[in-house]
């Protein structure tokens, strides 16, 4: 064993951690994947051997220290190993979003100058072949699934297992070099480079050092008391920092087992089979699950529906208190226990949450109702606030202090400060090294003392010390009369309605706010089905008068709630339109992590925005759309513009 890798002060690189686990937890499961209907697993020592074989193969292919290795595909153990193998060989892994189109991929691969790409299947191979002429540094591609690739020109193409074989065959030749390269790795060497999705401009390559990765993994694992026998399901994009920290960082640090689903569609079945103890999902996933539970309950028999409603009402009353270990009367506890037996337990089992000890949601605000639903079932769902530049963790909610409207207290080792304009700054061991080849942006984001601007506006709540986020700092603006304009705040309130998938609020430097709304096809479609309302397309359903009425009532309800907050009462939505198409990342309207790109939307739909402000009752528009395969088409539609009732604001009255 290469002992010099482990220093007196603990392992200082990802490969060093892997070697530690391979000797300390040799026979414990490290990675699992369902294939051909059976869960295949690899122990830590097997994982080390697989990774090493691939790393030796990389050396045989001529990978140099400091090279970049792109990794693209769905979550599979082999791809996690590819990232570790790249680091073993002294190179830098760069995971990419698998649903990125060829141009997006070309930009990222060109920017970092990746020489080798490890990809999942034919789809990814095709995309890279399409753009490889634009990539002067690119040399070879290594693929996992050989299907459909048999007749491809293999002069630049190798199968993953063949590269491993190549590595094993040439072990004697390269092992000394491989060990020497690993010995050189320390806390300051780069652990991984991740591209941020970027709500504006081109993606930026965030360079994270081993220090960032390991320190973060260590402190966050301690924060939630993660253990070796924990289980996680890796299903979120590999290019996202969270997945890297959970499935590589924390997995290596604590030695827990990472499970990969069979494919994207089987995720829910696999979730149930594995029963993870540590689970992470963006609000959207929780929302979708809740919607599907509710839809199925609508179809249940009356007795079952009654049982569900009765016990869920009780759960909402006492569930969170039971979870937090607060005082609950004996009768309430007994009734909750009965509910656990009859409703909560089976429901959690169906959802795959029976064993969840720590669950997180982050990335977007989560609706209080959704959040409370899961917590009342006894699932320890918490919120955290983080970003790629912080190696995820900035704040998180400790057990027992969980609320839907805050994002928690600072994580261990993190310092926080709020600038005069409300922007949140932080400093921590997780703070990124730099944006690759982009010193200006690095300087804009991180100052000399190591404080990083989050770009979010927020405040620290008096008393509890919890951070509350209002909006993106650059989106927070002023209305024409000087009142505060915080679009995200209103949009989130709108999106908490299951019928509304996406909302975009306008109003900066204007007299009043208006909004674009996307309906949720699952929820509204189900409603239409139950009410015998026929529709042929999304577009037709979106402009149905009854749908418009429902959305209007939601908007008015949001207005009432917004009016209560003195600071933000100016953000009530006066007029709205239900869009004829879903906002889509393929059309550049959303980022790959589904954040709204305001500028692009404002430019693209300028005609509709004009109509929202000039008092017209309807607007005809034509929109270009991009299909999944890159072809373009267009949608024509006439949209109805509705006025929503607004509440008189206390602010105005005070001003008068």
């Amino acid at each position: 064993m290469a002992k010099p890798l482990t220093r007196a002060d603990g392992p200082q690189s990802v490969p060093a951690l892997l070697h530690r686990n391979a000797s300390e937890f040799a026979n414990a499961p490290a990675y699992r994947e369902k294939e051909y209907g059976i869960w295949q697993s690899w122990t830590w020592s097997q994982t080390r051997d697989e990774v090493e074989a691939l790393a030796l193969g990389f050396l045989e292919l001529g990978l140099d220290e400091g090279d970049f290795v792109a990794v693209i595909g769905r979550n599979r153990p082999y791809l996690y190993w590819a990232m570790m193998a790249a680091q073993m060989a002294g190179a830098i892994p760069v995971p990419l979003y698998q649903d990125a189109n060829a141009e997006e991929m070309a930009y990222v691969m060109g920017h970092c100058g990746a020489r080798i790409a490890v990809v999942g299947d034919q789809e990814q191979v095709d995309k890279i072949i399409e753009v490889q002429a634009q990539l002067p540094d690119f040399e070879r591609m290594i693929y996992l699934d050989p299907r459909g690739l048999r007749k491809y020109d293999h002069s630049k193409l190798d199968q993953y297992s063949a590269v491993q074989e190549l590595g094993r065959a040439n072990r004697e030749k390269h092992i000394a070099e491989l060990e020497a390269r690993q010995a050189k790795l320390n806390y300051d060497s780069t652990g991984v480079m991740l591209y941020t999705s970027g709500t504006t401009g081109k993606p930026k390559g965030v360079v994270l050092s081993n220090r960032n990765v390991i320190e973060t993994a260590k402190s966050s694992s301690e924060f939630d008391n993660l253990k070796r026998n924990d289980e996680i399901l890796a299903y979120l994009p590999m290019a996202w920092v969270g997945d890297f920290i959970f499935s590589v960082g924390q997995a290596l640090w604590t030695g827990f087992c990472t499970n990969c689903p069979e494919n994207a569609d089987t995720m829910h079945v696999d979730l149930r089979e594995i029963g993870p103890t540590y689970y992470f999902a963006p609000p959207r996933v929780f929302e979708t699950q809740l919607t599907s539970v509710m839809i199925r309950m609508e179809d249940a028999s009356r007795f079952k529906k009654w049982l569900f409603d009765t016990f869920m009402a009780h759960a909402r009353k006492v569930g969170p208190a039971v979870l937090d270990g607060k005082k609950v009367s004996f009768m309430d506890r007994a009734k909750y226990a009965l509910g656990e037996l009859m409703i909560y337990g089976p429901l959690k089992n169906t959802l795959g949450f029976s064993r969840v000890r720590v669950g997180y949601t982050a990335g977007e605000a989560i609706g209080p109702e959704i959040f409370d639903f899961y917590r009342s079932l006894g699932i320890n769902l918490k919120q955290l606030y983080g970003q790629t530049e912080a190696t995820v963790f900035i704040t998180a909610q400790p057990d027992g202090e969980v609320r839907s409207d805050t994002v928690g207290v600072t994580c261990p080792g993190v310092e926080l400060k709020i600038a005069d304009n409300g922007e949140v700054f932080y400093r921590s061991p997780g703070v990124f090294v730099e944006y690759y080849k982009n010193p200006e942006s690095t300087a804009d984001t991180k100052d000399a003392e190591g404080w990083v601007a989050t770009g979010d506006a927020g405040f620290i709540e008096e008393g509890s010390g919890h951070l509350r986020i209002i909006d993106r700092a650059k989106d927070v603006g002023q209305m024409a009369d000087g009142r505060l304009f915080a679009p995200k705040y209103v949009e989130n309130k709108l999106k908490f309605f299951p019928n509304i998938l996406e909302a975009v609020v306008f109003g900066n430097q204007r007299n009043e706010c208006t909004a674009f709304i996307n309906i949720d096809l699952t929820a509204v479609g189900n409603w239409a089905e139950r009410n015998n309302i026929g529709y042929a397309s999304y577009q037709e359903l979106a402009r149905h008068p009854q749908v418009m009425d429902t959305i209007q009532s939601h908007v008015e309800e949001v207005n009432r709630s917004v009016a209560e907050d003195e600071m933000l009462s100016g953000c009530q939505v006066h007029r709205f339109v239900v869009l004829h198409k879903e906002l889509d990342a393929d059309d550049g309207e959303l980022t790959r992590t589904r954040k709204v790109r305001r500028k692009i939307i404002e430019e693209k739909y300028a005609d509709i925005i004009t109509a929202l402000y000039d008092g017209s009752k309807q607007v005809s528009t034509e929109t270009e759309v991009t299909y999944e395969d890159g072809r373009k088409g267009s949608i024509k539609a006439t949209l109805e513009i509705r006025d929503a009732a607004v509440q008189p604001t206390s602010h105005k009255m005070a001003a008068e």
């Binding site: 051909y36 209907g37 059976i38 299907r147 459909g148 069979e262 494919n263 569609d265 089987t266 079945v269």
Partner: protein, 277 residues
Amino acid sequence: MERDSVKDQADSYVTEDGRTIGPTVMEMKNITLRFGGVEAIKDISFDIREGEIRAIIGPNGAGKSSMLNVISGFYVPQEGEVWYKGAQRPPMKPYQVAQQGIARTFQNIALFEGMSVLDNVMTGRLTQMKSGLLAQSLWKGKAEREEVENREIAEKVIDFLEIQAIRKTPVARLPYGLKKRVELARALAAEPTILLLDEPMAGMNVEEKEDMSRFILDVNDEFGTTIALIEHDMGVVMDLSDRVVVMDYGRKIGDGSPHDVRNNQEVIDAYLGVAHD
């Protein structure tokens, strides 16, 4: 047995797209099929080569499905010979034909609706089972080993056709397009030499058709399976197939590459309608 000297009995054949396909694996010689006084197929001869995608097209009632049923052994023609792997095939039951390595899908889906997708796919392995009734009911020794082997093959097919998510779902709950895919899976589970597809894209939308086309090409490419298919969608036929047989009123009116067939005046008249100036 002596083989007829059909025009090009060379061992391989290069198509217009530059694909090399193998020697003849099946040959229909002067097939005539009658139902009472109706002649469904009139004196038709054609061959199917190893590894090719062979399409049979024609207007409604041209006798395409009857032809497929002759190949699968469901109908026994009154006249003519069926040659398979260099030997004349005596009249046999469809299950015997299946055992010889010819699997099929149906125009109207014929799955076991109450059974799960996996169980349906496993039925595709039935003709390959060798253990007896007793062994299978006790599930000991050979029966158990066989089941494991068969499940492995079934799972590979499920993976190949990307239907893992519905593995345990009863077929009755699936949408039409997926049922068609399950049928293909069941046929593939038999590991056939020749796969017969009876209108695999009928009733599908464009996206489902594209998916199905990709699977057909992948099956042909990965497993080297010879495929004979009947299809109405001309675009699909022209894109997929290496050679096309055109039938009209039970007669063969064209045979050749998609390009040849498209430019054959008789085919244009019969199939696409006569142009009126």
